[in-house]
Subunit: 158 residues, 2 copies
């Protein structure tokens, strides 16, 4: 992007690589809409993502929320040293989703610092991310609690 | 299928309708491989379902296991009266999945009878389904615990 006036945002970076990084999420139409240190929001459309009740399939709701862990890590930690993975995720379905949905989650500064320090010291650090998924009317359709781990890249062998 | 010698199996029925019922699961390549009263097994291929670590994306593992709740309900309950829905699902990732995976779950006869009786009496019945997801080497890559509900169809208004 050298020579342009604006740097790409974290959301641009994620959307530009999602097809390569997690092709099935790209197929669903998952998009990052707002990603910054300590905060991420994603959306996924209703079209093509329904089930036999005419509502969004549970695996699509899982995906739009699960991806927040990766998105928030991209914007909050040193990606040259660390990467995130998901260890466990619980999703609770509250209401049927019949529209596009938006998922969002946040991590506060103290928690970001704790994770970064522990991962630097120990090579890994677990963290919990709570996400809320809402429809376009503002109704919460599902919530998730994910246990993620920030992990140091293996050192290159020389 | 009138006039043929063999009835379609429950797995045939599920595979024949999955593209319509849950298109995104069909896109992933999820298939029912063995479905009978009290038991269901499904598979999904590695191809197209990876993530940035070169392993199967968590949302695909969620889907191949979550679908067992619907599959087992098709083969265990009166589908003209009842349908299943998922209320809550927890998935625990044990090992990276690098091959096709198989998910399976079972319900014993006493539990099937309890669910059917309660749903007939109350219009709904919650049940828990534990599933195991293994790779082609037999390694357990993830486990799930889903809370489902068998619910009576609404009566037609006349």
């Amino acid at each position: 992007m050298t020579g342009t006036n604006e740097s790409p945002t974290f959301a641009d970076m994620i959307n530009g690589t999602l097809e390569l990084v997690i092709p099935i999420a790209h197929t669903m139409g998952v998009e990052a809409v707002e990603v910054r240190r300590g905060f991420a929001a994603t959306t996924v459309p209703a079209e093509g993502n329904g089930n036999h009740f005419g509502v969004m399939y549970s695996g699509v709701l899982f995906t739009v929320a699960e991806i927040l862990g990766g998105a928030i890590a991209v914007a909050s930690f040193d990606n040259s040293r660390f990467y995130p993975l998901v260890k466990d995720l619980q999703i609770t379905f509250k209401r049927p989703a019949k529209t596009e949905v938006r998922a969002e989650a946040s991590l506060d500064d103290a928690e970001i610092e704790r994770i970064a320090e522990q991962a630097a010291a120990d090579g890994k650090s677990d963290f919990v991310l709570d996400a809320t998924i809402t429809d376009t009317g503002g109704t919460v359709v599902a919530t998730t609690r994910g246990l993620y781990q920030l992990r140091a890249h293996r050192k290159q062998e020389n």
